[in-house]
Amino acid sequence: MCISVFQQVDETSLKMSKQQPAQFINPETPGYVGFANLPNQVHRKSVKKGFEFTLMVVGESGLGKSTLINSLFLTDLYPERVLPGAAEKIERTVQIEASTVEIEERGVKLRLTVVDTPGYGDAINCRDCFKTIISYIDEQFERYLHDESGLNRRHIIDNRVHCCFYFISPFGHGLKPLDVAFMKAIHNKVNIVPVIAKADTLTLKERERLKKRVLDEIEEHSIKIYHLPDAESDEDEDFKEQTRLLKASIPFSVVGSNQLIEAKGKKVRGRLYPWGVVEVENPEHNDFLKLRTMLITHMQDLQEVTQDLHYENFRSERLKRGGRKVENEDVNKDQILLEKEAELRRMQEMIARMQAQMQMQMQTGDGDGAAHGHHV
């Protein structure tokens, strides 16, 4: 295809000076090269490949996590859930339950994995609450690192956690000690998005106060949450405004529901109370739409940050530790590089030797004939 394009350019180059630069969509137009078609190609390939996303949800029992996930993705991820009573929860340990669902919308496939953490915050002593969760996250990084360093890299499955929704209780005044401890333990490993669910328990004034309090406490304890990237300067005004609104609403206070209620003549998803109907998709009632927008428009960015920041952090830490003991932490990078290069050279020499050996064997093998057979 490249060759034909160049030929066309040669033919029409004489005419270019006379012609005005026209749209490059039409192949007949003079000066057409064709790489403006690249975004379409990317689109086609990505639709074919499908998208993968892993979302982790963490929070105490009864804060509305499952309902919210079901509402966000219009599915029922927990069809036969059995909720344990208080007596069973006393000594309960944290479990990790990953469920995958394939969502398709207009030909675009999303393979969504939701990692749930039942048991978090349940036990009477939550000291070891998050060890299981952190080791799960590390395990996924470890597996990816292993696959990436392997010889056959065709089918690397990305199970790394791209985003973690951390649920904050709307019944308190802000963050609790467990919240702070957990977020500080994972903010260098995963993108944290704090969420306040069951927002129908807060009046507008209380909501603003709680959001501000949570943001203040996050800053006070130096917790790094996921920051939405600012809109590029060449984006249109609407998009910039939307991004600004989204940024101003963090943490999102949402209400989840998959029940259809009749309100104002139409059927909406919401919660029915004697005093009114809370509409899930009404921006004046809660930030559900904002959360969904944020998740969808920034899914790619979340994956990139996970890859470029959190995974790279993990990888460099891991390789530094490598086979050595953790005590030698002040080995400088140059030394490691040199050592790695030396190792590479040795391996290359070994491969060259083996190849030479094989060549020789094959030659002598030919000479000797089939009587000896050949062994490698």
Binding site: D122, C126, P177, T201, T203, V278
Partner: protein, 406 residues
């Protein structure tokens, strides 16, 4: 002649007396930080008690007690509200219930001490015993939390517990029903005894038993006034509607107020005194060794037991004193003997030394004597030799001269 005696006015006399004295009621509110304890108290008593927002970062659970004097229709009420601070915030909640139990016990102990005093004035005593514990359950919609179960199990034998579902405007009607059923079944299966509104008095039996079926009460608290229709009511205003606190189809607030204050306040106080306090008193006195039945299975009064205890204590003390005296005497004797022994030894040593000294002296004397003898001898010899020399000199002197002259 009428059959009227006048006995029917007796309750009125009691009532008049109690109005004169004023009433005293103590409420303990147990619940997570921010669950709405203070707001509910304000709403219940229609007063803005002083309240502050507490932080989530206390390392231990504490209790704060505040006493207020209220008046309604000439009836005076001394109300004490005790609230937990920092409950449910810690990462390790194993010991969270202990400060609450300690507080309740402390109030019982204070009353017991007053009761046991010789000069006491119980009628003037400010009864600080906790009459009711309102336990605030978080409206998760699932079940009780582990902390709730543990705490209530440790409190049910010490105080009347009325469980409440706080911030109930976040649960829809059918979710609420399921939640109530789940909570009650959990309490029953764990053997937690909550307060039952009394059904023995026929005038209130029916309403009480129907209220018992509504437990736990789903409450909403608010002191904000909102205009609804042409009335101004206490409510919470949302974009999707207004939750009226005193609307029975919105929440159980009115039921709680009715049950707690209007109907059963006196019963709560009575139960506290006759059941919980008595249990505490019995356990405490048994610990101290008091019994109701003496050694021969004969009923024994507290006085007798006290006397016997006292006697026992005195005799024990006396025997101990005797023992100590004996020991003291013994020790003194031993010390004396030791000292005497030491003295004797010293004496012996002294004698010995003296003897040795004397012997030495004798020896020395002898030596001196012999030396003197020798000296005397020597001087005699010398004298003799001198004489001899002189003689020799005289005779030989001329010879010397002669030698010299030569």
């Amino acid at each position: 002649m009428s059959d009227h005696v006048g006995v029917e006015s007796l309750p009125d006399q009691l009532v008049n007396k109690s109005i004169q004295q004023g009433f005293c009621f103590n409420i303990l509110c147990v619940g997570e930080t921010g669950i709405g304890k203070s707001t509910l108290m304000n709403t219940l008593f229609n007063t803005n008690f002083e309240d502050r927002e507490f932080s989530h970062f206390y390392s231990h659970v504490n209790l704060e007690a505040r006493t207020y004097e209220l008046e309604e229709n000439n009836v005076r009420l001394k109300l004490t509200i005790v609230s937990t601070v920092g409950f449910g915030d810690q990462i390790n909640k194993e010991e969270s219930y202990q400060p609450i139990v300690d507080y309740i016990d402390a109030q019982f102990e204070a009353y017991l001490q007053e009761e046991l005093k010789i000069k006491r004035c119980l009628f003037n005593y400010h009864d600080s015993r906790v009459h009711v514990c309102l336990y605030f359950i978080a409206p998760t919609g699932h079940s009780l939390k582990t902390l709730d179960l543990l705490t209530m199990k440790n409190l049910d034998s010490k105080v009347n517990i009325i469980p409440l579902i706080a911030k109930a405007d976040t649960i829809s009607k059918n979710e609420l029903q399921k939640f109530k059923v789940k909570v009650m079944s959990e309490l029953v299966s764990s053997g937690v005894q909550i307060y039952q509104f009394p059904t023995d008095d026929e005038t209130i039996a029916r309403i009480n038993s129907s209220m018992n079926a509504h437990l736990p009460f789903a409450v909403v608290g608010s002191m904000d006034e909102v205009k609804v229709g042409n009335k101004v009511v206490k409510a919470r205003q949302y974009p999707w509607g207004i939750v009226e606190v005193e609307n029975e189809s919105h929440c159980d607030f009115v039921k709680l107020r009715e049950m707690l204050i209007c109907t059963n306040m006196e019963d709560l106080r009575e139960q506290t005194h006759t059941r919980h306090y008595e249990l505490y008193r019995r356990c405490k006195l048994e610990e101290l060794g008091f019994r109701d039945v003496g050694p021969e299975n004969k009923p024994v009064s507290l006085q007798e037991i006290y006397e016997t205890k006292r006697q026992e204590f005195y005799t024990e003390r006396q025997t101990k004193e005797e023992e100590m005296k004996q020991m003291f005497v013994q020790r003194v004797k031993e010390k004396e003997a030791m000292l005497k022994e030491a003295e004797r030894e010293l004496q012996a040593k002294y004698e010995h030394l003296k003897r040795v000294h004397q012997e030495e002296r004798l020896k020395l004397d002898e030596k001196r004597k012999s030396l003197e003898d020798e000296i005397a001898c020597f001087s005699k010899k010398r004298a003799a030799s001198e004489i001899f020399q002189n003689q020799a000199f005289v005779t030989g002197g001329s010879k010397k001269d002669k030698d010299r002259k030569k």
